[in-house]
Every structure is written in C-alpha cells, then in structure tokens.
Symmetry: C2
Subunit: 466 residues, 2 copies
C-alpha cells in the first residue's frame, strides 16, 4: 500500500479529467452507497435460481456429434466443446498435449454506458445472475451479450440498452472500443468486443440497473465476487490518466520484445475431434483429465427468474481448483512497474499475450518438479501480507464456467528484487498496458482484471492515482 502516485491535474486531457473525477467520487447522490447496498442485497435475495448438475443425456438442445464426439448445440450456434492439439516449443520448453476447449467464434458485446450526473461520470451497471457464478448475482456491464443474444437467435427477451452499442448507435458516442481475448486455456481464440460509450441524452431506467461512479465501483472491486469478469475487463480499458513518470522501456522496445517472443515460439494449434483427445475421459456426467487436474466439462440445468430465457440446460467448464493470478509490482526509478509474463495459452489467437507474473492452478503447479513450476510462484505463496496491495478472489464468467474462482494478487517487491528478469518477462507500467489496450491481443483477461484491481488498490483512501 505504499505505492501511490499523485494525479497532476494540469497534465490531464478532458476525458482524463472526467474519469479521474468519477474515480475520486466515492459516494454519489445518484445511488448513495447505502441505497446501493440495499438494492444489491435485494437483487441477490430475489434473483435466486437453482443450478443442478445433470447427466449429459439430459441436456436439451445439446448433443455429442456422432462423427467427432464434439459437444454441440442443435442450432450450430452458441458454442461447442471440441478437441485441440497443441504443440509448443521454445527455449527450455517443449510440450505437446491435447485437451477439450470451448469454441465460440461469435464476437459478443461487453459494454458500459457512462453518463454525467451533476458533472460526474457514472457507469450503468447491471445486477446479473449467471449459472456458474460463485455468488448468485454480480455486477455486470450495462450490456453483456453474445451475438446470438442480441440478434435474437437465443429467442430470449431483447437485450436492454443494446442500442447504445450496436450500430447505428444514435444515442451514444464511443469512448473506448477494442476486441479483447478471454481465457486462453479454456477458449479457442475467443474475443469479445469491449466498449465504453457515453449516452448523449436521457437514459431510461430499468430495475436491474444502477448508476455508480468509478470510485464506487473501485471500492466494490476490493470485495470478492461483486464485480463480474465482464465488468472488470471493460473497466480495464479506462486509463487512470495519472502522470506516472518515465517507464523503464520505451513502447518500441516492448513491441520489439513481444514480436521477438512471438516469432521465436513455435505454437501449433490444431483442432481435433473431442473424442480423439488423449488422457481425457467422458463419463455420464463429466469429461475429466485422468490426473483429476485442469478442469472438467459438466452439464447443468438452470431455473432462473430474470435471465433472458428462464429455464435451460447447458454445458459448463468447471476448473479443478481455485486459480492464482498475481502481478509483482516494483518501483523502478521511482515509477511503479508491473512484471508481465508473455504467455502462450492453448487457445491464444496470436502466439502470446502479456499475462500476470504468475498465473496457474497452484495445487497442480506444486505437484510439478521444481524446474517446471511457474517462476515466482513460491515468492507469491510465501508473501508477507503487508506487501499485498490487493488480494481478493474474483469469479470468471459464470455463463461458461462453474465456480471458477481466481485469487487475484498485487504484490509489492522492493529494491532487492532484480530489474533484470528472464526473457519472457517484461517490466511495464500501467500506462503502457492502457496504451496496448487500444489494440487487440496484447493483454490476457487475467492481466486486465489485475489492471482494474490496481486502480482500485491505488484509489484506497480517496487518492486516485496509479
């Protein structure tokens, strides 16, 4: 908690000033904190729903393809569970494996509407329940919709506020907009469109939605399982606009290093029939790895009150254990830097993306021989709690994942930690990560959650800075 940095207002651009003001506003007359608490508790109370594991044969509208064993939807839409063969090879690393993976080629929209009330930007957040969530209901972006959702293939209710995001988009202007990846170990080349738009006129109210300042959301981000993954990734697009000081590496150098890593690595991803995946077994109600590690694919029956369709069955991916995602944070020349790790996950679109310093399932990782364990894992597991700027469990997408909790950690390290790091690690500032988020395929989703968490951590005590 010692790494903070003052905002110097003179250097702020106009959008910067507006988002900074919103982040500095920790309570709001639009939705006072106690009112939010009451409303949110009520949402969680009334939006109960039942999720039951079922055998695969009880899935409605889903089946295993005869020819491939892939788990597919009858419509040919939504997503499917397929097989993927991966061959990865680079210095000190050679691996080849096959695994089940979710293939969802559609690009959906995750978007937040913002609007000024009394001169302060507020974000329109939705109380949304999803079948796999660790808590029944979490705060989601204004819109969180697959293309099937918002074009009506789902046959559910229309998506509220979609007109602020989908063309012709007459009622809003776009502030941030980029395609961003999701879990590369579980999804094949999946991306969603992440958007922040500003409403140009009055925005109709809806009972499941609430206006919160960035400052209010940052406080909620310090709690477990309140702000959902889709909200966290959209929030990560909003830079802090603070003047952070000179970075260790120029952007050109970072791009050069990343290009070198991508060119150097051999990552061959080949789709294969799910039935042909090795070391995975399908039973009546699960597809699991022989070791019991990684994840299982299961089927669930869901009965709910206010989702688009009120009763359905679907496959879910259930991680075998809670994950760990941690950034080491160190001042270099007085400027806070994050230690990013260039990760090549099974389903990554473009060879490698920057992820947290450590990202793994620690239970499994600790079964590995020492040289194969994730670097810096022990450091994080043995951390003095006083060095943790952030240490909170958050859920991944409850629409695809069942109880996928990750422990998110920001750990401060001091001058004793070397600036010289192995070649697949890079020191980057939060501002540089923000710049990269204007584009696609640079930061993985765990890194983006931690970038949002960093802003929340640095906002502690009311001083918004990075």
């Amino acid at each position: 908690m010692t790494i903070t940095q003052a905002v110097s207002p003179g250097t702020l651009t106009r959008p910067g000033r507006r988002f900074t003001l919103s982040a500095q506003t920790l309570d709001s007359p639009v939705t006072p904190n106690p009112v939010f608490r009451e409303w949110f508790a009520e949402q969680r109370r009334t939006n109960r729903y039942e999720v039951r594991r079922i055998p695969f044969r009880d899935l409605v509208g889903w089946r295993f393809s005869d020819s491939t064993g892939n788990l597919v939807h009858d419509s040919g839409r939504f997503f499917s569970v397929e097989g993927l063969q991966v061959r990865a090879e680079w210095e000190g690393h050679a691996a080849s494996w096959s695994q089940p993976i979710i293939n969802q080629p559609e690009i959906g929209i995750l978007g937040i509407v913002v609007k000024e009330f009394d001169g302060v930007l507020h974000c329109l957040m939705q109380a949304k329940m999803e079948p796999g969530n660790l808590e029944t209901v979490q705060l989601s972006p204004t819109v969180q919709a697959t293309r099937s959702n918002y074009t009506g293939v789902h046959k559910g209710a229309r998506v509220n506020y979609i007109e602020y995001f989908a063309p012709p988009r007459t009622g809003s202007r776009v502030l941030f907009d980029s395609l961003q990846s999701e879990q590369g170990s579980w999804f094949l080349r999946k991306r969603n469109r992440n958007m922040v738009v500003e409403a140009l006129g009055p925005v109709p109210a809806h009972e499941d939605f609430v206006w919160l300042t960035l400052g209010q959301i940052h406080q909620l981000l310090r709690e477990s399982n309140v702000v959902n993954m889709d909200a966290r990734t959209v929030l990560s697009l909003i830079p802090s606009y603070a003047d952070e000081g000179p970075p260790l590496h120029s952007m050109e150098h970072l791009l050069n290093r990343l290009t070198e890593i991508k060119a150097h690595r051999e990552l061959v991803q080949t789709s294969m029939p799910l039935a042909a995946v090795q070391n995975w077994r399908r039973t009546e109600d699960a597809i699991a790895h022989d070791s019991g590690h990684h994840f299982t694919v299961i089927a669930a029956s869901v009965a709910a009150a206010n989702r688009e369709v009120t009763r359905w069955t679907q496959p879910l991916l259930a991680p075998a254990e809670q994950g760990l995602s941690a950034f080491l944070v160190r001042r270099i020349g007085g400027v806070p830097h994050l230690l990013a790790h260039a990760r090549s996950e099974a389903g990554v679109l473009d060879v490698a993306e920057l992820g947290p310093t450590v990202q793994c399932q620690p239970g499994r990782a600790l079964t590995l021989p020492l040289p194969r364990r994730p670097r810096y894992l022990d450091l994080v597991l043995r951390a003095d709690p006083g060095t943790l700027l952030y240490d909170t469990v958050q859920s991944e997408e409850g629409g695809r994942f069942h109880h996928a909790g990750n422990r998110y950690v920001l750990m401060e390290v001091g001058g004793e930690f070397p600036v010289d790091v192995p070649g697949d690690f890079l020191w980057v500032t939060a501002g540089q990560l923000s710049d990269l988020l204007r584009h696609s395929n640079y930061l993985n989703i765990e890194a983006r959650t931690l970038l949002s968490a960093l802003r929340a951590a640095w906002a502690r005590g009311g001083a918004y800075a990075r």
Copy 2:
C-alpha cells in the same frame, strides 16, 4: 502525379531525418546507379536456373497424406497444403466455401540491415532467385528466411547476416519490428517477422549483396519485378516522416470502425482434409478448381546455382490470372487519403485487415453479376492513365507462388468522388497506415506493397514526401 507534399524538416525526428535523407539520395557513390545496373544484370545472367513442372508423384520428400489427402513434407516441417472450410456472413454478404490453403505455422524473418555511409543510410539488398519468380532474380531483403532455413532444418547453407536479426543480435539495433500477414486467400494465418535493423559496426561484404539508398530503391520500385514482395513489405515499415496534415478521421475513430467491422462479421474458418474440399479436383500434376478460376496447386523441380540447396522439388501455388490491387487516392481538406477496404480473406488471422480499395482477380471478377463485383473495380479498369500515380506489375513471393503477378495501381480521384463511402471502406492517410504497422494484423500485404509504391511515386522528381 499532382499529389505531392513538401517535407518540413523542422518537424522531423532524428530517425525521420535520416530516412528522409536516404530517400532523397537518388544515386550513391557506394553503389552508383550504373554499377548497380551492371551488377544486377550480371546476377540475372549468371544465376540462371531451371524450373520444370512435374507430376506430384515425382516430388521428393513430399507426399499426400493417406488419411487427409493433405500435401505434406516428410519432416512435418516447412509448409503443407490443406483444406479450409470458410463460412462468412455479414450485411449484404453470405458465402460458404472450401478451398486448398497453405499452412505454414512457422514465423520467418524478413529483414533489412541499414547502415550509414558518408552520413546517408543505405539498405543491404540481396539479389535472390526464387523458383516462382516472374524474373529469375529480384532484389530481396538482407535476410529472407523461414525458421527452418535459419535454424538449419533445411540442411542448406547458413543464412547470411542472420546474426543481425536473430538474438542475441549484438551487432545491430532494432529500428522497426513487427509481425505482418501474407496473402490471406492463399495462406492460413501466415505471418512473417518484418525487421529493419541498423548495423553498429562494419558489415562484411558478400557478392550477392549490395548497398542502396531508399531513393535508389524507390526508383527501382517503379519498375516491374525488380524489388520482391519480401523487400516491399519490409520497406513499408519505414514511415515517410513527412508532415502530412490533419487526417479526416482520428486514430481512435479508425480503430473503433475496424473493431465494429470485425465484431459484426461472422467469419468461421475450419481446417478440413484437403481430400474433402469441394469443387476442387486433383489430377496427376495439379489441384484445380472446377471453374478454372482462383489458382492451382502444382509441383515443380528446381535446379539452381546459389540457393541454399541447389536442387529440389516443391509444391507451388499458381494463380489462374494476374491480380489487380489498387488504392484510390483523394485529397480531403488538402490532405491525401487512401481509400482502404476492410477485407476478410479466407486465411486471415483476426477477422479482417485493411486492404487496397480494389483487390481481385479481374478476369474472374468480371464474370460475376454486377452486384457481386468488387466495388470501384470498373472505375479502376476505366481509369484515365493521367490519373495513375503508379501502375506497375510486381510479383508475389516466388518461394511459394508460381508467376504470381499483380498489377499495382495508385489512382488519383478528384473532388467529384464522394467522401462518404460504404461502411467497409475507410479513408486513411499514409501516416496513419504507418502508425498501424507498428502493430500486427492491420494491413494486408497488398496494401503494404502499395504503401511502399506510394512513397516511390511521391519521390518522383527527387522530392521525397507523402
């Protein structure tokens, strides 16, 4: 030829000044133009080689896989010819087809070494022959090597100057470095690493190599089949550094538009066995489309003097006809803009890339009913020669393609041409395209050739500007 723009030296950064000076230097004592001519003619004369079409069964080291019909190398390396199923759907466009496609997951290096002589930057260019070239020998980058080449899988000679590009790279510093795509209609998600590096010390000479200024290369770019594709794409990374004036759209707006296009389009690419591709037939010596359009896959035997391996056989992809790639160029608010088209080619990595205004095989395109013809094709085909800033045939990669000539055109349009264009077209300046080339997956290879051509066209008469 009326669109030119002065360089204002005061605004140039130091690298800008150096590249601008090199571009303004149209002849050089290091390699005077007549000396280059003589040397190049000699290279073409002495580096003769014989390319013969052969039946597939005479390929050595290549075979059709029993299970898939894919054309593969015995080593499992280099590249293979596979099948691809494509489903594309968006407004006014819905198509589904399968086709053969080259899969080459390795990322190679295309790189130019630059070095100052008497204060002027020169590029080290190689006279290189490739089996499919329209002319026996063309000017290539200093290094043009697949990973198999430079790591020795090829069992050929070592790659000259590779140490300036591959780590640890002690003798050079990197100026430009990014992964860039190649022909999306013929390659599955293929990219190469494009690099420009500056030598830090003396560079040993080699008889197949020559030092040329940017100005000298620009003059050669105005001739057909002298500067090869790999050189053109690397050269496209070097911005012109001229002060071009305010663009019509901000970069944020361009990124937003591109994101919208990518999110809106449904492009599902599924690898399939080559044997299962529909409407394509394999004979003894060709895989061809029933219509005779598109391309054929053929086999060739090559006997050559100075390539890495002096005699070999390999598959080549032979386009059915000469292609056409054309940018419309229009002044908007006095500033030259190119009309880019967001293209989703079969093998594209990230849904869509910016390509030229028109890019097609015109013979086939003219057989299509009018509504399905490429927009602006007629305009380009009917162009008054006086409006053509550039109109030159260039070859695509002769290592994979057989006699793949494209007519590259830059056509100036006047105030009568509307600034309002359909949603998948975007007005961009050359400077904006240069900015995008710091990243991957934004510009296709035909657009990059035309960006290099634009600089060559604007350099006419000695005034280097964009």
